[in-house]
């Protein structure tokens, strides 16, 4: 509260909001034909990637120089990442955007990029290691594309974000790691928001005792609390974007809120959510997997 100059906006710019709307419409159109499940995650997403790259969505963070805002600032990028997180599509879009933001020379838009983050176990975490062209890593003082390390193992807990475990060269700069933490957290916020949306939809349709379960106050109030948590997690993202020194605290808070929301979505769906075919564990898995990445990103940065 001490500062006077350089206060940040709390909500995305008008241009950012328009872009987010367009992006969200595009994603809904391209991903709604198949329900969440094994088939959804194993589909060939090559055409979608080409479309996103051709439309410029992979390059939204490319600014005048590394780390500088282009058309979109961090808050607008976080809104886009949130929309992307809603889809749970297993493509390295957010990773590509975050890495490109810090590159001096920019690769072609259709390059699939990721990064190698050192975790506490001295292992490198490489999201989407099996489907990328390069990782961004610090070489000669700036982030460049290097050959992705070959994973020695995998963390396949969340099909929306397979993580390769590798040893070897990697390394991101501190500011890039903070961006990775914020934007990856935003995908978890999106996943939790989509879990809420699914739970609300289900509560309107599912009938017990002759009434839709969403008319029962016990269920309604749980959903209201989930809504409050989704809203607060968006506020946590705004805080993280405005105050990078606090981004570790803010992203951890957003993840804690998102985790509870995704858990509650399972509860609202009831028994159906406990089966593999059920829709509610996919966003929950995503939130859980994101935590591993974000903690590794901020552990060494903040």
């Amino acid at each position: 509260m001490k500062d006077i100059e350089g206060r940040s906006a709390a909500t995305a710019s008008a241009i950012g909001r328009e872009a987010v709307d367009a992006f969200s419409r595009l994603l809904r159109d391209r991903t709604s034909s198949v329900p969440l499940g094994d088939e959804y995650f194993s589909r060939d997403r090559g055409p979608l990637w080409s479309e996103l790259a051709a439309a410029g969505w992979t390059c939204v963070a490319d600014g005048p120089r590394p780390g500088a805002d282009g058309d979109f600032g961090l808050l607008e990028l976080a809104s886009l990442a949130e929309q992307w997180g809603r889809t749970l599509v297993p493509l390295p879009l957010v990773e590509t955007i975050a890495v490109r933001r810090w590159m001096a020379s920019r690769p072609p838009p259709d390059r699939r990029l990721s990064y190698a983050l050192v975790s506490a176990e001295d292992e490198h975490l490489v999201p989407f290691a099996d489907r990328i062209d390069a990782v961004g890593a610090v070489r000669d003082g700036e982030i460049r594309c290097v050959q992705p390390p070959v994973p020695a193992g995998w963390d396949l807990f969340a099909p929306s974000m397979p993580i390769g475990l590798a040893r070897g060269p990697g390394g991101l700069s501190v500011p890039a790691r903070i961006d990775v933490a914020i934007l990856t957290t935003a995908t978890a916020v999106g996943a939790a928001a989509s879990a809420l949306e699914a739970a609300v939809g289900y509560a309107k349709l599912r009938r017990q005792f002759g009434r839709p379960i969403g008319s029962f106050q016990a269920v309604k109030h749980r959903l209201a609390d989930m809504h409050a948590r989704v809203e607060m997690s968006r506020s946590a993202l705004a805080w993280a974007c405005a105050d990078r020194m606090s981004s570790g605290r803010a992203t951890r808070a957003a993840l804690a809120l998102s985790l509870r929301t995704a858990e509650d979505a399972v509860q609202v769906h009831g028994g159906i959510a406990y089966s593999w075919e059920g829709p509610a564990h996919w966003p929950l898995r995503h939130v859980m997997a994101v935590r591993r990445i974000v903690l590794a990103a901020i552990a060494s940065a903040l």
């Binding site: 006077i4 710019s13 008319s215 309604k220 209201a224 805080w239 809120l257």
Partner: protein, 371 residues
């Protein structure tokens, strides 16, 4: 009027407010040992000082006597007042509830008569909505206002009314006709408090203090010209008033109280505990950003229901958690404070819509769940 906290004019406005507060606020600081009369005098005087300096009713339109600024400037002003330890004026109900009800729904005569006196801090208002049997179910209001020649004659009882014993006017929701639909027969009136037929009885709270009251109306009169909007149109006005009572303006006030509590709590518990993932210090920051998001959305003229609807629910429960933590810390130095705050804070989740009502509103109106 700013539409983003990043606007340059917001920084300029903040600097002006801060410069003025630096000299003005200390002169009106309420000493810890002040008598109630002294405190009231200071708070009343502060209200007028705010007006003299040109900071009263910032977001009201100029034609209504305001500054024609927006919710962002209101929030900044409130934040800076909290930081400077400025007292809270007595005009809250007038500025945030009665004024907007009058300029939103009243005629020109009513606006000319009452708005300048709210802006200048002359009239103190209280809010006459709740009754013994109309709490959460506000449409159950029983207080009647019978039309007689040029006035309404009011009979009934209002309860849990803040500012009642020094208010000049009451924003009164009363029943003007018995009707099939309970929501139809209600009317909003500006009732003068200083008249025969109005008696105020202090109500002692669970803290032992008596800050609010019960008002008894035994044939009190309200001139017909002091009706806001149409006869029978009171429910819609009440709903819009309650909307602002639960919105960002009050969240800013709550942030002030909470900030004070947190500052003390930092002496009583280990730092890491407050700033953990979902610790109270962290959630205070989230709430601040939530309020700022809601305010920017409102200032931009966009639909803010999704972001404002949760503010009251979240701040009220966070206040209680903070004071409970203070109490449980066992800090001897602040024991008396936390005992008092724990009791006092019971009010936050009850007044202006209980948490249960807020959750139902979110479920019904934001999420569109079946009723």
């Amino acid at each position: 009027m700013a539409t983003s906290f990043a606007d340059r004019e917001v920084a300029r406005f903040r600097r002006d407010v801060r410069r003025w507060l630096g000299t003005a606020a200390p002169r009106f600081a309420v000493p810890a040992d002040a008598t109630e009369e002294r405190e009231l005098d200071l708070r009343r005087a502060w209200e007028r000082e705010v007006h003299r300096a040109g900071f009263s009713c910032l977001s009201w339109r100029m034609e209504h006597g305001g500054r024609g600024l927006g919710p962002i400037e209101e929030f900044v002003f409130s934040e800076e007042c909290a930081e400077a330890g400025a007292p809270e004026g007595l005009g809250r109900v007038g500025r945030l509830l009665a004024g907007p009800a009058i300029f939103g729904h009243g005629d020109a005569r009513l606006r000319d008569r009452f708005l300048p006196r709210i802006v200048e801090g002359v009239d103190i208002w209280c809010q006459g909505f709740s009754e013994p049997s109309a709490g959460s179910d506000l449409a159950a209001v029983r207080t009647t206002a019978q039309r007689e020649a040029g006035c309404y004659r009011v009979v009934g009882r209002k309860l849990w009314t803040s500012f009642a014993h020094y208010a000049d006017l009451c924003l009164l929701l009363a029943r003007t006709s018995p009707s099939e639909d309970r929501h139809d027969g209600l009317t909003m009136l500006c009732l003068p408090m200083r008249q025969a037929g109005v008696s105020v009885r202090r109500v002692r709270q669970i803290t032992g203090r008596s800050e609010f009251a019960e008002i008894l109306f035994e044939g009190a009169e309200v001139p017909v010209e002091q009706r806001i909007g149409d006869e029978g149109g009171g429910w819609a006005i009440a709903m819009s008033v309650l909307g602002s009572e639960r919105g960002a303006g009050f969240a800013a006030l709550a942030l002030k109280t909470m900030g004070d509590d947190l500052r003390v709590l930092r002496h009583c518990v280990p730092q890491g505990e407050l700033d953990s993932d979902l610790g109270p210090g962290t959630r205070f920051q989230l709430l601040r950003w939530q309020a700022m998001r809601a305010i920017e959305t409102t200032a931009g003229g966009r639909d803010a229901l999704a972001s404002t609807s949760i503010l009251k629910l979240v701040w009220s429960e966070l206040v209680q958690e903070i004071v409970r933590r203070g109490f449980e810390s066992g800090c001897r130095e602040h024991e008396a404070r936390w005992r008092d705050r724990l009791l006092d804070a019971r009010e936050t989740t009850i007044a202006s819509g209980t948490s249960e009502i807020q959750r139902t509103i979110i479920g019904d109106r934001v999420l569109g769940l079946p009723r």
